[in-house]
């Protein structure tokens, strides 16, 4: 397609969005008319009547009696053992995010929010700033995590404030849980390792610490559409291995990583390389071919 054609196509798009009938079908080929019709369908599409939060969200965020969101103050840590608190937050966030995906997990997620809301986390005392619908608690690097706040300003032992609308109850946290490698390294109890090689176009995004014996390194490609993950888990103890359900679609290949026995499993263009070394189980996902997976794995220091 020539440059002029793309310009015409772009004009047609903008005309369709403006519901401008200058981009009419007269004088066009059948193919062009069909394309124009598709543009109009896209331009006219409005799914928003299906939204269940339009009014409740507006009420929660913007009504005068609930105007806390835009003026939440950064919380100060009065007395804190920083690392355990960070760990608790990181672990709880991961679990909350995972649990939020299932209806069964909702109540558990609420309980975790309740734990985060409480002033005492073991011996760690954390200042909590309450303002309107939200309370702010400090996250790693001094940023603020917003949690639903009780109307009274008191900190409940668990659960969510009843004032939050039903449709909005499922939402709690908005923090991306990745943290820098050096910080993660201090949080885990094993030698967290980062590969020297990742495929071209990928960059290191951060680490998700699940618990002291388990962390995942994330690498994302430049347009953030693909993710490579390297899960590192201490062998034994409470850190159970992930069970793979084998089906006829999965190809399994025995291989080695730096002399250690390894297993490559692949379904379509998604693969998993798993191996153990020095008391740590490694699971590499997001790579579509064994050669690349091995190159990443063998670049670990």
């Amino acid at each position: 397609m020539k440059h002029d054609s793309y310009e015409k196509f772009s004009r047609d798009m903008d005309a369709a969005l403006a519901h401008d009938h200058l981009a009419d079908a007269a004088g066009r080929s059948e193919s062009e008319r069909a394309e124009l019709e598709t543009l109009r369908t896209l331009a006219a599409a409005d799914f928003s009547p299906e939204s269940r939060i339009r009014r409740s969200l507006k009420r929660r965020l913007l009504e005068p009696s609930r105007t806390g969101t835009a003026s939440v103050q950064r919380a100060r840590v009065v007395k804190s053992r920083t690392v355990p608190y960070r760990l608790a937050v990181a672990a709880a966030l991961i679990i909350v995010l995972a649990l939020a995906a299932s209806p069964l997990g909702t109540s558990l997620a609420r309980s975790l929010v309740g734990i985060l809301e409480s002033r005492q986390v073991g011996e760690n005392t954390t200042a909590v700033s309450v303002d309107g619908d939200f309370q702010a608690v400090p996250g790693e690097n001094g940023e603020t995590i917003l949690l639903p706040a009780p109307d009274t300003g008191a900190i409940p032992g668990s659960g969510l404030p009843e004032s939050i609308d039903e449709a909005d109850k499922e939402r709690h946290l908005t923090l991306d849980p990745t943290i820098p490698f050096d910080e993660a390294r201090e949080m885990v109890e094993f030698d967290l390792r980062i590969p020297a090689y990742v495929p071209e176009g990928y960059r290191f995004l951060g680490v998700v610490v699940i618990r002291t014996g388990q962390a995942s390194l994330e690498f994302v490609n430049f347009d953030e559409s693909r993710l490579i993950g390297l899960l590192q888990t201490t062998v034994g103890g409470a850190n159970g291995k992930i069970q793979i359900t084998y089906t006829s679609d999965i190809v399994a290949v025995d291989t080695k990583v730096a002399g250690h026995p390894a297993l490559w499993t692949q379904a379509g263009d998604e693969g998993l390389l798993t191996w153990e070394a020095d008391g740590v189980n490694y699971q590499l996902v997001g790579v579509s071919d064994l050669e690349t997976a091995l190159r990443i794995a063998e670049s670990l220091p």
């Binding site: 403006a18 519901h19 928003s48 939060i53 995010l97 995906a101 939402r171 995004l205 559409s225």
Partner: protein, 190 residues
């Protein structure tokens, strides 16, 4: 039917300035952009509940970050959709992480998305449209969302995504062709 091209509210900048100290002043802006943000999220994640969650998250972020918006650096709508894009991208990363831990990527063949009939949509045309959009690549879907939900110009999309303006037009054209083919012959091209 609403004109979806970039149209700011007549008093948009004043409302945004007021909203930095009085969130209630944001109500009109919220009404003006809600559908676009929801539609943007819907094109990206398809699922209506996830789209609601993301829409909520976008507006929460917008209100907490409103003080960082500088009118001199560009229209509010471009800033708003940059926040929306970051929010959705972060959620997609989290989704991949969840798949990672549950190994759904291995248990299920890639591309084996839920049946289009599972898409909770009462409207047949929209259901078919979303099913067609679901078949696009992540990048194509993102550009379709920025263009047809956000109403952004190709230039604004190019600036936001780091692509050239011409590349944006090429990708959009390809995506529209694929949607058209899928709408004409459902299932033939997926």
């Amino acid at each position: 039917m609403t004109d979806k091209t970039y149209t700011a509210l007549p008093n948009e900048l004043a409302l945004i300035a007021d909203a930095k100290t009085d969130p209630g002043a944001f109500a009109e802006v919220y009404d003006h952009y809600f559908a676009r943000i929801y539609n943007y999220a819907r094109y990206r994640v398809i699922d209506p509940v996830a789209a609601d969650d993301l829409t909520s998250e976008v507006f929460e972020r917008v209100l907490t970050k409103l003080h960082t918006y500088r009118p001199a650096r560009g229209p509010f709508s471009v800033w708003l959709f940059a926040v929306a894009r970051n929010t959705v991208n972060a959620e997609l990363r989290r989704q991949k992480l969840r798949q990672f831990f549950s190994l759904e990527a291995v248990r299920h063949r890639p591309g084996a998305d839920p049946d289009p009939s599972e898409v909770a949509d009462q409207n047949e045309t929209y259901r078919e449209l979303l099913a067609a959009v679901r078949g696009l690549s992540e990048r194509e879907r993102e550009l379709i969302a920025l263009k047809f939900a956000g109403g952004l110009t190709n230039r604004a999309i190019a600036k936001m995504t780091g692509l050239t303006e011409n590349h944006v037009a090429v990708i959009l054209h390809r995506a529209v062709q694929r949607i058209r083919s899928e709408l004409e012959e459902p299932g033939e091209h997926s």
